[in-house]
């Protein structure tokens, strides 16, 4: 009797398996990041301690984490819903810009009482993102334009449009030096979501969006059709799904979510638009959606992790003098380890006993 090990394919992994896998990847990512910090001449433990304090040190810093996570939840959900349908949209960034810009645009058009103005801003943001996404959808449905290509190009177009609106001073306050819009009116700013906290309404909307998306996917006929289409377009087509219509609807939904992210960030945090304020939420959302396995609730948790990194990163910069650019590197490191571990976790070691 001899014993040896054999590598074999693992059967389907459940939710617990996915959580273990994510924890494994994140742990390794922190180890790798620690190495990176040490190589750069920082004390990794001190840096991480600063990161922890900045992210979840007390209630106030946790609020910061929640607020940082909010736009990421929206772009994460936006990427998640598109990828679930196998529509490879990477237009979340542009749709986030479009949402914020559309909402900003209506504040320049009219005044409303605070409550109504906030509703108008939210609707305009969702609309702006949805139009932006829908445009890519129509291009795909009517002219079969590759969604990856069209969304990337639309990302550029919207950012350059903002750049034009600013440099031409159409959207800049008189006498303003930086390339940014004037502040949005008081009435349009998102009010507190929980009284006595800094959490703005967008945080609540993000939570609601997670629940609604989860509900749509798992309980509705539309979500059923969407999942069927995502897994097997041919069968879905035979069973009555119109692929063009589905593509446009999903991209509008995805864009609307990303647009809400733009509203949350602009009208809840920055109160003005600049290219740098909104930069990077789109790509982070894609990473988050992939790590979360495109599941809405998991997207919420992963967005929280990334929000914590972002908000703790600022504190780390102040306390340990570590550039917060390291946070972007850490996010990417987490993704790499996650993708690596998802291949690794497809197999398992099995102990085998043979007679000879």
């Amino acid at each position: 009797m001899s014993k040896s090990f054999r590598i074999e394919k693992r059967p389907e992994m459940g939710l617990i398996g996915l959580v273990v896998q994510a924890a494994f990847a994140i742990t390794l990512a922190f180890v790798a990041s620690a190495l990176l910090l040490e190589v750069l001449g920082f004390n990794a433990l001190e840096s991480f301690e600063a990161l922890r304090i900045g992210a979840i040190g007390d209630w106030e810093s946790f609020e910061g984490t929640l607020i940082q996570a909010t736009p990421l939840v929206f772009t994460g959900l936006a990427a998640g819903i598109a990828f679930r349908t196998r529509i490879w949209s990477i237009g979340q960034e542009g749709q986030l810009f479009a949402g914020a810009m559309m909402a900003y645009f209506i504040t320049t058009l009219f005044d409303l009482p605070p409550f109504l103005m906030v509703i108008a801003v939210i609707l305009a943001g969702a609309l702006g993102g949805a139009l932006m996404g829908g445009l890519a959808g129509v291009l795909k449905a009517r002219f079969n334009v590759d969604v990856i290509v069209s969304t990337v190009m639309l990302n550029y177009i919207i950012v350059y449009l903002l750049s034009y609106l600013l440099t031409s001073r159409l959207w800049m306050a008189p006498g303003e030096y930086y390339l940014q819009t004037a502040q949005v009116p008081e009435a349009s700013r998102l009010p507190a979501f929980l009284s006595g906290t800094n959490l703005h309404l967008g945080v609540g909307l993000a939570l609601l969006a997670i629940m609604i998306m989860q509900f749509i996917l798992s309980r509705t006929t539309f979500g059923y059709e969407l999942r069927a289409f995502g897994d097997n377009q041919v069968a879905a087509r035979f069973k009555g799904t119109n692929p063009q219509r589905m593509t446009v609807i999903v991209l509008m939904l995805s864009g609307g979510l990303a647009g809400l992210g733009g509203v949350a960030q602009t009208f809840g945090v920055d109160f003005r638009i600049s290219q740098t304020f909104l930069f990077g939420f789109g790509s982070a959302g894609i990473i988050i959606a992939v790590i979360a396995g495109l599941r809405p609730v998991m997207i919420g948790f992963v967005a929280l992790l990334f929000g914590g990194l972002a908000s703790g990163g600022l504190f780390m910069q102040v306390m340990a003098d570590v550039s917060s650019a390291i946070i972007s590197a850490m996010q990417a490191i987490i993704l790499i380890f996650f993708l690596g571990s998802s291949v690794l976790f497809r197999y398992r070691l099995k102990r085998v006993t043979s007679d000879e």
């Binding site: 897994d231 069968a235 035979f238």
Partner: protein, 519 residues
């Protein structure tokens, strides 16, 4: 030939191969004498393919020994098997389609280093073809050849590489009856020359052409018998493990009103060529119209057009006298047409869905399964449990993932769904392809039951015996055209086979009757 003096050409002893917890082959032993045809017979999943892959060095067995001409051999890769004298012709050919026949044969032989020694090779290939009377145009490009001819390229290639023992995987799956007759004629010539053949099959007609049959069931050899000593029925019950009715009884029935009518239908394929060139036919209530033809002659495009998935170029489709041309799939489903696709996991099921979810695919908006925009899981589960019970779907439960099911059980999910939703017409495109005998019997009975209920049924199949047994009328298709429509008691397999190959004149001569098109 003296068995003691001459060891068998190939002998396998106690071969076992497992994949994780799945035992594909368990303690398999058999032998092939020089110059004989041995058939490995078994249902899907019985372990035929794994066994042949082990013989060809594609897999390595966990246990067991292989002897080639009495000498123990060990194959670590197909290269070892080829060097030893074993050749394999796969079910799915591995040919480079833009290249010529001769290039494909010489390709990868490495005999001449990097330069292809085409003249020398061509001479040898011509010798081979001449010796066995194989008719191949060596300069033709692969894409110009029929599937049957491509198979010959594979066989010649194996012989060119020096194979003395050929493994043929389902060799007649893609052939017309005449082509498969020719195949066996030439194979016999080869065995007469001392070559040996291992043939993998689940088709009884070709099995009967062999010398010995080794029947596999659940990875084990049930028995090895002399073909001359057994009947098809014996082999079937050995293979399935119980007696099976090979042909369902079709009772006589008066056809009713016209349900589906197609006139002058022209449909393009994905390459934008006409795949359906002006087909016209009618199907009545209580009637099965068989579509006989080698696959790839427009059947898929025809069904896709009938289901509204593919748009028609010209021509019309009527259902109950109503013009339904250019309607979309959802409308066609609502008209009461059920569709059983040939490729279940491609066109009929969502692999990642549960069994329950797949039983309502396309029916999610039916009030039986949803309340407004919300799915009603209780009623979906009830329906799925009913389907599992009624159709005998073997699954751990309604929540099991569909892609873990066998082909037969997956097909039963589709049957349950389509038979429930269809109200007047069933389109069945190769509904039994790749299924086990037991399930085939079941599918046939279900189709006949629907015929009794007054459905109009269109059944496309490559299995001519099934078509003859089940259909009231048979339309033979070749290259997108209907070569003729016949009452099934008026034609025989020979005539159908000739028409399937596009040979109208030969078909007319085959039974002395002039060629008539009965509609």
């Amino acid at each position: 030939m003296n068995a003691v003096a001459n060891p068998p050409h190939l002998r396998v002893e106690g071969l076992t191969k497992t994949f994780g917890p799945v035992i594909a082959n368990s303690d398999v032993s058999f032998q092939v004498e020089r110059g004989e045809i041995l058939c490995l017979l078994g249902e899907n999943g019985a372990g035929k393919s794994t066994l042949s892959s082990c013989l060809y060095g594609f897999y390595q067995a966990d246990k067991g020994r292989i002897f080639y001409e009495g000498k123990e051999v060990e194959f670590h890769s197909p290269r070892d098997a080829i060097a030893c004298g074993i050749g394999m012709v796969h079910q799915h050919f591995v040919l480079v389609t833009p290249m010529s026949v001769i290039e494909n044969i010489v390709l990868g032989t490495h005999e001449h280093g990097w330069a292809l020694g085409v003249e020398e090779a061509e001479r040898r290939v011509r010798d081979l073809c001449g010796r066995y009377d194989i008719d191949l145009d060596l300069d033709a490009k692969i894409w110009q050849l029929s599937v049957g001819e491509q198979q010959w390229v594979e066989i010649v290639k194996a012989l060119y590489l020096g194979a003395e023992l050929l493994i043929l995987d389902e060799p007649t799956a893609v052939l017309t009856p005449q082509e498969s007759d020719k195949l066996f004629r030439i194979i016999r010539r080869m065995t007469g020359d001392g070559l040996s053949i291992i043939m993998i099959s689940h088709k009884l007609n070709e099995v009967m052409q062999s010398d010995h049959v080794a029947v596999l069931r659940r990875g084990k050899i049930v028995d090895t018998v002399r073909t001359a000593d057994v009947t098809k029925e014996d082999l079937t019950s050995m293979m399935v493990g119980r007696p099976v009715m090979l042909q369902a009884e079709r009772e006589d029935m008066e056809p009713g009103e016209t349900i589906l009518e197609v006139a002058g239908l022209r449909v393009r394929n994905d390459k934008d060529q006409h795949a359906v060139k002006g087909m016209s036919f009618k199907v009545h209530a209580h009637e099965i119209l068989g579509i006989a033809g080698v696959s790839g002659n427009g059947q898929n495009e025809l069904f896709e057009a009938l289901m509204g998935v593919r748009d028609t170029d010209s021509g019309q489709i009527w259902l109950h006298g109503e013009d339904v041309t250019h309607q979309n799939p959802r409308q066609m489903v609502e008209h009461g047409i059920g569709y059983i696709p040939d490729d279940r996991f491609r066109a009929g099921l969502v692999g990642s869905f549960s069994v329950a979810e797949n039983t309502i695919l396309g029916l999610q908006k039916n009030p039986r399964f949803s309340d407004g925009p919300l799915l009603n899981f209780r009623r979906i589960l009830n329906f799925a449990n009913e389907a599992i019970k009624r159709f005998g779907i073997v699954t751990p439960g309604p929540h099991a993932r569909t892609d873990t099911l066998s082909g037969g059980n997956a097909q039963k999910i589709i049957l349950a769904r389509e038979f429930w939703s269809a109200s007047c017409c069933i389109l069945a495109n190769q509904p039994t392809r790749g299924l086990d005998v037991g399930v085939i019997e079941y599918v046939h009975q279900m189709l006949l039951e629907k015929r009794r209920d007054g459905f109009a049924i269109v059944l496309a199949s490559e299995e001519l015996e099934d078509i003859l047994a089940l259909s009231d009328r048979i339309a033979v298709v070749f290259k997108g055209e209907i070569m003729g429509v016949f009452r099934s008691d008026e034609v025989d397999i020979q005539k159908l086979g000739l028409l399937m190959a596009g040979q109208r004149d030969a078909a007319a001569q085959s039974d002395g009757k002039p060629y008539v098109k009965v509609v």
